[in-house]
């Protein structure tokens, strides 16, 4: 009975680790143009212009913006795309 409980707890812990979402964060960079960053957000994430501008301004004023959260593989693919556009982007595991 107690063995089952231990296994269940381990599985739950493992599942929780796997389920933790990953954040895609874009960092400020004085070189990239605001219009260019906005265009990239629209292209990569399909944001409407207003939302793309909001994230661009957050990057500009606060130094970073969390632009997407979700499963790790997709987050990695987004970061790769952003690097392809020469934006500074990182993956961060969300805190529970």
């Amino acid at each position: 009975m107690s063995g089952t409980a231990v296994i269940t707890r381990e599985e739950t812990r493992e599942k929780r680790v796997l389920d933790v979402p990953w954040n895609v964060v874009v960092h400020n960079d004085p070189v990239n143009l605001m219009s260019y960053v906005t265009m990239v957000f629209q292209r990569v994430f399909g944001f409407h212009r207003d939302k793309a501008v909001r994230h661009m301004l957050e990057v500009h004023h606060k130094g970073r913006s969390l632009v997407w959260s979700g499963e790790r593989e997709r987050a990695e693919a987004y970061v790769e795309q952003l690097h392809g556009y020469l934006l500074l982007a990182t993956l961060e595991q969300a805190e529970l």
Binding site: P30, E80, H83, T90
Partner: protein, 158 residues
Amino acid sequence: MRLTRQSPDVLQLQDVPPFFAVLLADLPRIAALHEEARERLYPDPLSPDGDDLLSDWREHVVPELERLFASSREIAARDIAAMDVGAESASLSIPDKNIDAWLNALNQARLIIAGRNSFREEDLDAREEPDLSTARGLDLLRLHFYAHLQEVLVGVAG
């Protein structure tokens, strides 16, 4: 200097003054210095305490990015090689299908220039005209010129 439509799918940058034609012609050389700005052009996707993703990233993703950036540089260089340079001005044709490559090549060059001069935000926002008697001043002008061209192309592509 003005941007017009040469045909439905080709842009033309016309009346480029000779000085700026030289800066344009210099784009492939600058962008090819990407090893100088390797850390910025191929940044790690995780903070230093990241996991095994880093080694996979460097092994698989970075070579893909290198190919993408090299291809962009080559496309822009081909268009530049075909630039029509006259005594008074030059004109450059950029097919619409090459705009993304141009945006990428211009960005590479701008990041390299900013990196090698350690330009900060205040340098880029400065109102004074760059001192063209210095290499740093010339690079600042070059960076602004490429930014202007990039801005125009974003307007078309966006």
